[in-house]
Symmetry: C2
Subunit: 314 residues, 2 copies
């Protein structure tokens, strides 16, 4: 039996997926990331895990058709990583490195957000589309872009940093990036908490209701679903900013579908409906814009997309 | 001798280019577009022109390797044009139509802005790049996008309408598209005149200097080059809006180069320098952003790119 591996290397955990030649997930597991020795133990660990798996499953090394890696930082076309803070890597090529362990196996690496986008594209909410943008709403807003069936890496391996496009919202507070009004300042989990706090302060509720000084984006979403007016206004503002940004992308790139993933997207239609309202308001020229869908693969998007790097030649 | 043709069909003129197999322009000419009979005479005219050319040049029909068409409207992958106002076409496929005249010749069609982008990409300011965005500053702001060496057409054939992304500028006046603050409202020739008028009104110069009630973007650029403070402020505002927009694209798509074309770009470095100032101010994350260059092919971009449709398989 032939097998391909998708490996999603994070700063805390390394996720592994073994896939059939058709891209079906056979098995998945994870182990803790060992960051010691400037992250030099990571790839030997990856190698060991894969060797153990094929040993248990009685698979010969020549039946490994490929190993794809998702890396939490910019990766150039050769697999070279200039810097990856989360893995303590500097001037390091994980593809070359892993080749030492598997000289005859096809190995590829790509940024983790791009890899997640590939996963959703081939196996998730972007199936049967030619162009897709994945927007991940987590602590920050990130994403990955597929056009004409290929990941857009960008000239510096930085494409997909869509959190830092201008939302067109008036904003005084500065974003981490130094600009103001970035989508990230609104549509991220951090942004939701920030806006909710300012709404509470405005409304005078912040002092009265002390429980509300410490809350998460998830709390805001739950409140909104229960019909809380302020929480709903917060979601409208935050996802409104994103909707406006997505309309810009539709005007410029006209993708078939926007796939919304990440922790915040777990609130489901509360999120996508708010995005759609503002998107449709801002959209022009295109009778029917892009679909706006929830991501489908959850935490498996990374391993799935990483495997697609070697199964589909991306 | 084998020859390929690039044909740029506009509402006023049809431009023709005969190219060698290496994409070298051998000869170019144009004729007036005959819009009668719902534009049904256009393709017979194209056919006649090409036949006359090959007859004069003693080229056999089997030595035509391809004919590429640039169309002033959205074109889908099969060449189908749902509507093209400028050519009076509706539900019409120029590829199928031209095939009747040249059944054994490779024929392809693409939107004219995308085709111009392809021209600059292969033969102009985008040579040796993998990703490029062409921004044309004319009456409006348009453009074409190349990523991974391919034109981005978009799901509805509308990609490249970058004039209508949000500039992040505060603006009350509505754009033609219904939104406010679009790049088009600033960086187009129309936008430059609009902003200059409002600056003149603000400064109280509008009444005194009656000659300034009727002027073009070109006049503003010439004044700016002569050192006029208000005209320079106008260019800074207008190209500043574009620079901010391009920074957004760099964050999201990280292209290698932005190529600035169209009538307004004839003012040269006055324009690119103003764009660069605001672009660099808004850029973050990327040490070195994209190059911002002037287009090189002028009016030949269309015929060149149209020919590349059939020479390069795009």
């Amino acid at each position: 039996m032939k097998v391909a591996f998708g490996v999603d290397i994070g700063g805390t955990k390394i996720k592994f997926g073994a896939f059939s030649q058709e891209g079906r997930l056979l098995e998945k597991w994870s182990e803790t990331t060992d960051l010691s020795d400037s992250g030099r133990k990571i790839l030997p660990d990856v190698s060991r895990q894969i060797r153990e798996y094929i040993k248990i499953k009685n698979i010969r090394e020549e039946d490994i058709t490929g190993i794809g890696l998702g890396i939490p930082g910019p990766v150039d076309k050769t697999g070279f990583v200039k810097i990856c803070v989360n893995l303590h890597w500097k001037e390091f090529n994980p593809v070359t490195e892993l080749k030492h362990f598997f000289p005859n196996v096809r190995i590829a690496a790509e940024n983790d957000a791009n890899v997640a986008a590939l996963g959703e594209y081939y196996r998730g909410a972007g199936r049967n589309c030619e162009s897709m943008m994945l927007i991940t709403l987590g602590t920050g807003v990130g994403g990955g872009i597929i056009m004409n069936g290929k990941v857009i890496c960008g000239a510096h391996g930085l494409a997909g940093e869509i959190g830092h496009i201008d939302s067109g919202m008036s904003e005084i507070e500065k974003c981490n990036c130094g600009n103001t009004g970035c989508i990230d300042q609104f549509a991220s989990a951090t942004g939701i908490v920030r806006i909710m706090k300012s709404l509470l302060t405005e409304s005078g509720d912040a002092g009265e209701n002390n429980i509300m000084t410490k809350f998460t984006a998830r709390d805001v979403c739950m409140l909104a679903k229960k019909g809380d007016v302020l929480a709903n206004r917060c979601i409208d503002i935050c996802m409104g900013a994103l909707g406006k940004g997505l309309a810009c992308f539709s005007h410029a790139f006209d993708p078939e579908v926007f796939v919304i993933g990440g922790g915040v997207a777990r609130a489901g239609e509360l999120i996508t409906n708010a995005i759609k309202r503002s998107y449709n308001e801002k959209l022009f020229l295109i009778d029917k814009g892009a679909d706006i869908k929830l991501a489908q693969l959850g935490n498996d998007a990374g391993i799935t997309g990483a495997c697609m790097l070697v199964l589909n030649g991306d």
